[in-house]
């Protein structure tokens, strides 16, 4: 059985993620899944744009009064960097260096938690000043869009941690490599969505 084969850096395939049919299926299936996720976020973005700054008569909250770019900038840097570190992990996977994979994935997770902590702080701050989920259509659509992204981050973190734990003893094989590959793909997707949130929600919010 393919999984039982012991690989060395010399025999390890160039593209373990598509080395067998199962891998090819996962690879394609996951890309398609991300296509659907894109439509999902597109719907959230469209709704947010339609409801931005809309609220009950006399609402004082606007994107300008609410958002603070320095905090969001730090969050963006954390998440972008975490995407880079997950690329490093994939780089080591290609070279059949399992320790490298685990190390860089761990760093990715740490950065992800940093992002999450700041996001929770940000949300807490908004709620504290009265911008709660039920405050207005604006607040509902803001929290739903950014919160759905945040939920993706949580799921991504849980996923990667689980992978690192389950494979700590198993090491690298075609079977496990494919799991890392899809997880890192997911992480990149989360990163790309954030770039759009940063631009459309925060930058455009502060500018106009």
């Amino acid at each position: 059985m393919a999984e039982e084969v012991k690989y060395t850096p010399q025999t390890w395939p160039e593209h373990p993620e598509t080395a067998n049919l199962e891998g090819k299926n996962k690879f394609l299936g996951f890309w398609l899944f991300l296509g659907g996720e894109t439509v999902l976020f597109a719907s959230l973005f469209a709704t947010y744009l339609a409801l931005k700054n809309k609220g009950p008569e006399g609402m004082e909250f606007t994107t300008q009064s609410l958002f603070e770019l320095p905090l969001v900038f730090v969050m963006t840097m954390l998440l972008l960097t975490s995407s880079l570190t997950s690329v490093y992990a994939m780089y080591h996977m290609k070279n059949f260096n399992f320790r490298g994979v685990q190390t860089w994935m761990a760093i990715t997770v740490l950065l992800g938690f940093g992002f999450l902590a700041l996001e929770i702080y940000e949300f807490y701050h908004y709620v504290h000043i009265g911008f709660t989920y039920s405050q207005s259509a604006f607040s509902s659509s803001f929290f739903t869009l950014v919160g759905t992204h945040g939920l993706h981050v949580v799921i991504g973190l849980g996923w990667i941690i689980l992978l690192m734990l389950r494979n700590a003893k198993r090491g690298l094989s075609i079977y496990t490599a494919q799991k890392y590959y899809t997880a890192s793909l997911y992480w990149h997707f989360i990163d790309v969505v954030w770039v759009f949130i940063f631009t459309v929600v925060y930058l455009m919010g502060v500018m106009s």
Partner: protein, 621 residues
């Protein structure tokens, strides 16, 4: 490990169905549960027609009527038509492309159980304080203010079953792209595979907007959000957009596989190659593509403005072109063929005029100014029943006869089948043809009764009588199924004698591993080619006999779906019952824990060894 041929007791048989990942068994699960919901939706339809048979009727109260009407539409579309079509896709597509299974057998099972639990959840509303009552479209301006939990059942139930549909869509896309046998190029794919492929792509892009719309509805009703509440800055039109961005592709998700089934039938029973194969493929893809650009034709009267209305009107009319191409290709397939009028063929022949009538009214409605008159009248009801019953349901019934031998190795009675056809077909036209005129005479849709003497009495009565004919047809069908199952006469290979594609070449009953050796596809209608060349086996092979890799059965999909089912009750009673939040957490916990179990355990499947395959002929049902 020899998993071949073992006798099973009831307990282990049940366990087998709960854990199966075999596409052929999942097909039967889809067919059975879809069939069950079809009967439920049919009973609801009968209640509607009884209420409307005479003016000023008090058989149903206004509120109950709304619930039954809503559940009829929702059940038929989400829980009957789509799952039954998924049943056929599961039964046929892997065989048709020469694959041993779908790409993700585990997800295939998960998709089914999600649909199943979602459907059960939705229908439990009847016993837990009342069903949804805002129409299958559940416009937010109505549904936000609907008292009780009906709408919550709708939103949560569709969310769960929709997740199942989404998974199934991805599964079929990957299966068709990656798992085709050698020689099965895209332009040699049978039409049913092609239409499954395009319908799956539509599912991939159409279901996320519905997911989001439903979440908004759930959050507005259950968690204090304000997406649709205009006093809080919300906008109810957002629901309509999201719903129809899903909703229009959805009708093509239904009709494309139906087109596929009829394309197979016309070719098989005209004993001729499908006319204009490449034009058919092109038309299918084009319909799928255009299907995403026309959603606002459901919203002409909302007030989007003349520019938007004009654009969407033209785009909508454009869809009639590829649809017309298909109709002509079918006609030219029959033309000069050596026709056998079997039951499936009878349905196919009945489909053409019925569906054309529905298409014509569709184009009429596409003219925005005219639609101001037609919108929300019985004309619309007539239109969509002509396309859905005259298209999708006829295809489902035709497919039932056509694919029954493939799924069960027995043949439904042709005689009873034809009796069903005539009752159903005549009943269908009697019910819905006349509704065009009711619409033109001004009868609005979704009314629970009407006042005597507006000229609507007779037509409504005729319409209700037609519904009874359809019901008789369905009862005969049920008798047919029961009798066939009791008699249990095996039919063996190529039951229709004129099969053209790989699914008919396989030995009956289909072995659980499908193909002993991966077949080599030598052209469009490859089985036909082999038969013409006198190949007794009906197949050429692409590989020597070797071990076959099989996936393990799994109970996890069932548990994962059950978790969401439990969690949905928590969400529904949030803020009302003390146990709501714990139940929500426990349900989600079950789902997450089963996901983690799936991830933590290595599941490599098993192998059937060459030696065991050698002398194995049929399946082990």
């Amino acid at each position: 490990m020899s998993a071949i041929a073992q006798k099973k007791g009831f307990g282990s048989a049940l366990w087998d169905w709960l854990t199966t990942v075999d596409h052929k068994k999942i097909a039967i699960l889809y067919l059975a549960s879809g069939g069950f919901f079809f009967v439920v939706g049919g009973i609801e339809a009968m209640l509607i027609r009884i209420q409307l048979a005479v003016p000023d009727n008090s058989f149903l109260s206004a509120g109950l009527y709304n619930e039954i009407l809503t559940m009829h539409g929702t059940t038929m579309i989400f829980l009957a038509a789509m799952p039954i079509l998924f049943g056929y896709m599961n039964a046929v597509v892997p065989l048709q492309i020469g694959a041993r299974d779908v790409a993700f057998p585990f997800l295939n099972s998960l998709g089914f159980w999600l649909f199943f639990f979602g459907g059960i959840f939705l229908n439990l509303s009847w016993f837990m304080g009342g069903a949804p009552d805002a129409g299958w479209t559940s416009y937010a301006s109505l549904s936000l203010y609907s008292p009780g939990h009906g709408i919550d059942f709708y939103a949560l139930g569709l969310q769960i079953s929709g997740a199942g549909t989404y998974i199934a869509g991805i599964n079929f896309l990957v299966t068709i792209i990656n798992m085709r046998a050698p020689g099965m190029t895209y332009m040699r794919m049978p039409l049913f595979t092609w239409t499954t492929f395009v319908a799956s792509a539509l599912i991939l892009f159409a279901f996320p907007p519905l997911t989001i719309g439903l979440f908004f509805l759930i959050f507005d009703r259950m968690f204090g959000a304000n997406f649709f509440d205009h006093t809080m800055g919300g906008n109810t039109i957002i629901w309509e957009h999201l719903f129809w961005i899903f909703g229009h592709p959805e009708v093509y998700i239904l009709i494309l596989p139906a087109f596929g089934i009829f394309s197979e039938i016309f070719a098989i029973f005209s004993r001729k190659r499908l006319f204009g194969y490449s034009a058919m493929v092109f038309a299918t893809v084009l319909i799928g593509f255009l299907g995403f650009m026309v959603w606002a034709h459901h919203m002409f009267t909302v007030g989007l403005g003349p520019t938007a209305n004009a654009i969407f009107a033209v785009a909508t009319m454009a869809i009639a072109v590829p649809t017309g191409v298909k109709i002509f290709n079918w006609l030219l397939t029959i033309w000069g063929g050596s026709i056998k009028v079997t039951t499936p063929m009878l349905y196919a022949l009945g489909f053409i005029p019925s569906f054309v009538a529905g298409g014509v009214t569709g184009v009429m409605q596409a003219a925005a100014p005219l639609d101001y008159q037609l919108h929300d009248s019985y004309f619309i009801v007539a239109h969509f029943h002509y396309v859905i019953v005259g298209g999708v349901v006829l295809a489902i019934l035709a497919g039932l006869h056509l694919y029954w031998p493939l799924m069960f190795n027995t043949m439904l009675s042709e005689k009873l089948g034809k009796i069903t056809f005539w009752f159903f077909f005549l009943g269908f036209h009697a019910t819905f043809f006349i509704q065009h005129f009711l619409g033109l005479m001004g009868m609005p849709r979704r009314v629970y009764t009407f006042i005597e003497g507006q000229g609507w009495d007779l037509f409504n009565f005729i319409s209700s009588m037609g519904a009874i004919l359809m019901a008789i047809g369905v009862i005969v069908l049920v008798i047919n199924i029961v009798m066939t199952t009791v008699k249990n006469v095996p039919v063996g290979n190529d039951p229709w004698k004129d099969g053209r594609t790989l699914e008919w070449a396989i030995p009956q009953p289909v072995p659980f591993y499908n193909f002993k050796r991966t077949p080599l596809v030598r052209g469009l209608d490859t089985f036909w080619i082999e038969k013409q060349e006198g190949n007794k086996e009906g197949m050429s092979y692409a590989e020597p006999l070797s071990d076959i890799h099989m996936p393990n059965n799994s109970f996890i999909p069932f548990v994962m779906s059950l978790g969401l089912f439990i969690a949905a009750f928590g969400a529904l009673y949030n803020g009302e019952k003390a146990w709501a939040v714990p139940v929500l957490v426990i349900g989600l916990g079950i789902t997450l824990a089963s996901m983690a179990t799936r991830s933590l355990k290595d599941d490599h499947g098993y192998h059937i060894h060459k030696e065991d395959l050698m002398d194995h002929k049929g399946g082990n049902y």
